[in-house]
Subunit: 389 residues, 2 copies
């Protein structure tokens, strides 16, 4: 077998939302189709990948470095031992040939997009859903049939008042979610507290609400917010300071006993390891949000999981960023703690399979080989067009 | 005044050399020309920038995100208070609009290339060499008229034996260098020690030789090499382990009393700060090699210098990677400890002004406004063609 072609395109996921750090008005996503010569039901198996929000499409890097390297590799060098399927680790090594260590940004997204397409193809060739494939290969067959998810929203946008915020959160509960997340740090502390109280009036217990500062705060602001947030007993307090300011995170832990979360802006095992070593994160309560679609894919994410276990962390502490079906499969197949979901933003790449409902804060999988992207009509149209282009 | 156009191109700097980590067979560099409407000697002032080796050209990111953002910015928003020149900080902020924190790789190169062109233009508009401009603006006029440099070479390449290595090093001495650097970690320890002894036979004192492992070693290998290197009293032992493995660096400091060096693969103030906080580096002997051309440019590098001074480090501990005239100007203008030089590799972007000789391990500047790129014929031909294209 071999890879016949690799195609890519760029799709806007523009939204009028903003977090404390950026506007999403020009956000884009790369979509990749990895076309193989393996036939299933008479058609070539195609793996699809895309990056999650926050880091832009990577057409330049894909076309300058990563797709040419993969196309230049000897086909047999990319196969598993039996030769019947692709080998994600070998493909990863081929992609990263002649890349120096360090500097994990942007290229980590380009590689993540291709890696997703590889795993989609691998599990389609095996004829099983990806989560099932991962459970069989790495976890003795033990898969979670559904995954705990939370509704990430509560963004700032022009003219959005407390009533609109409450309606948004109510609509998540109406759609089967029990836990929600909202942005903080893009307004004054007073206004953010009013926003938090408005949301709590909808979702009830503080344990149903996480808040996310998107790395905006200096240590003083982070502590000020920590003191103010304490009484609410929130689900977690996310990314208070710069994602690389491990000392800030460690100091903040001395001021906030509740769960804290971070990691969506750390894009390699090495960066994740530094958070674990130097960030004062607490294995008995804190949450790690590394997102394989932005971080060199699942091959690298498995290195991160190994590092975490060596450091005394449970995989259940991992609730990835990104709200996509790839991380959902990883969560179910490798036993993570849950997954993010964007019920309303980053269309059309938000959410999971169209006909699989969210119930009591959990979601399951369509009965399809691969990641299950074919079960989501709107983005699949784009992927189908890419293959036929 | 305003920026009229920004052009970019990609140039190969392929070499048959390798270090312990990568081959340089397909290495490329981005070149940018920033064309202004300011006239000097009857011609528009053009600022030039390029990235240094090791991290590839960035045409994709430049064209997808950074050049469009700069072109879209209101021209007056990019000027200094008096309106007569560009403001590098304001341009930097405009480039980084809607970029999330963390993930410092690739985009740090794209921004570094533009930032270099901005400083070149700014000092050309002022009619002074960049190092003089920097000294006047940031250091009360105190500039170093020449900079200590060392010859970086000693790469592995097919068929290169000890005699060829010695000839290479002798040729550096013949060209005015006193200190040289060679690669280690791409061969066995025994072979590397033979290579080191061969080079010492040429350069004499161990203080004239630095060695560079390019991040190849795990902690055990790093310590094994440390023990073996000790007796030679080398100038420094560079990048033993992964550039983000601060714990390895800190542990290694307990096994090697001589100077160590690292930093060329840390691309932001935040990453540099983590090295200082967690890497066990010793301000009284170790060397910091952050390269602004790969790391969001001089605007970000000045944040790094500020962080270093707040942490008790002298600027003289900084000897940047990259071997280009930008860092040479920064070294002279802001009082760093020296600069790298590649006498023979990464052509045509290696080395400094054609007619300014290296003497006793120091090099000076041509009497030209800006970075001085016009005094280096081969790369300047490429830049000139880019402007006229």
């Amino acid at each position: 077998m071999k890879i016949i072609d690799i195609k890519d395109t760029v799709v806007p996921i523009r939204s009028d939302i903003r977090n404390a750090y950026i506007d999403f008005g020009l956000m884009t996503v790369s979509v990749v189709a990895l076309i193989t010569d393996v036939l299933r039901d008479g058609k070539p198996v195609v793996g699809f990948g895309f990056n999650s929000n926050g880091r832009y499409a990577q057409q330049g890097l894909l076309r300058e470095r990563f797709i040419p390297r993969l196309k230049a590799a000897a086909p047999e060098s990319l196969l598993n031992e039996k030769g019947g399927n692709l080998d994600p680790e070998k493909i990863w090594a081929s992609l990263m040939k002649n890349e120096k260590p360090g500097g994990h940004g942007d290229r980590s997204v380009a590689v993540g997009v291709i890696d997703m397409a590889v795993w989609d193809a691998v599990s389609k060739i095996e004829g099983v859903p990806l989560y099932r494939y991962l459970a069989d290969r790495y976890r003795g067959g033990k898969a979670d049939e559904k995954v705990s998810i939370y509704a990430a929203g509560g963004y700032y946008y022009p003219g959005k008042g407390l009533e609109a915020l409450k309606q948004e959160m109510q609509s998540y509960l109406d759609r089967g979610y029990t836990t929600v997340k909202m942005k903080i740090g893009g307004a004054s502390l007073d206004e953010d507290l009013r926003r938090i109280e408005a949301v709590l009036a909808v979702v009830g217990d503080g344990g149903n609400l996480a808040v996310d500062a998107n790395g905006k705060f200096c240590i003083e602001e982070a502590i000020t917010y920590a003191e103010a947030l304490k009484p609410y007993g929130l689900r977690w307090y996310e990314e208070a300071g710069d994602p690389l300011d491990y000392a800030l995170q460690a100091e903040l832990a001395g001021h906030y006993e509740g769960p804290m979360a971070t990691g969506e802006n750390l894009f390699s095992m090495q960066d994740a390891r530094n958070l674990i070593r130097h960030g004062g994160m607490r294995p008995n309560r804190d949450i790690l949000q590394f997102d394989c679609a932005l971080s060199y894919g699942l091959v690298e994410y498995m290195r991160t999981l190994e590092m975490l276990e060596e450091s005394g962390w449970s995989r259940r502490s991992c609730i990835p960023h990104g709200g996509h079906q790839m991380c959902l499969n990883v969560a179910a197949g490798l036993g993570l703690g849950g997954n993010e979901s964007y019920p309303d933003v980053f269309k059309p790449f938000n959410g999971f399979a169209d006909r699989v409902p969210v119930e009591d804060g959990y979601v399951g999988f369509p009965d399809l080989p691969g990641i299950g992207l074919e079960a989501k009509n709107e983005p699949y149209k784009i992927m189908k067009e890419l293959v036929d282009s």
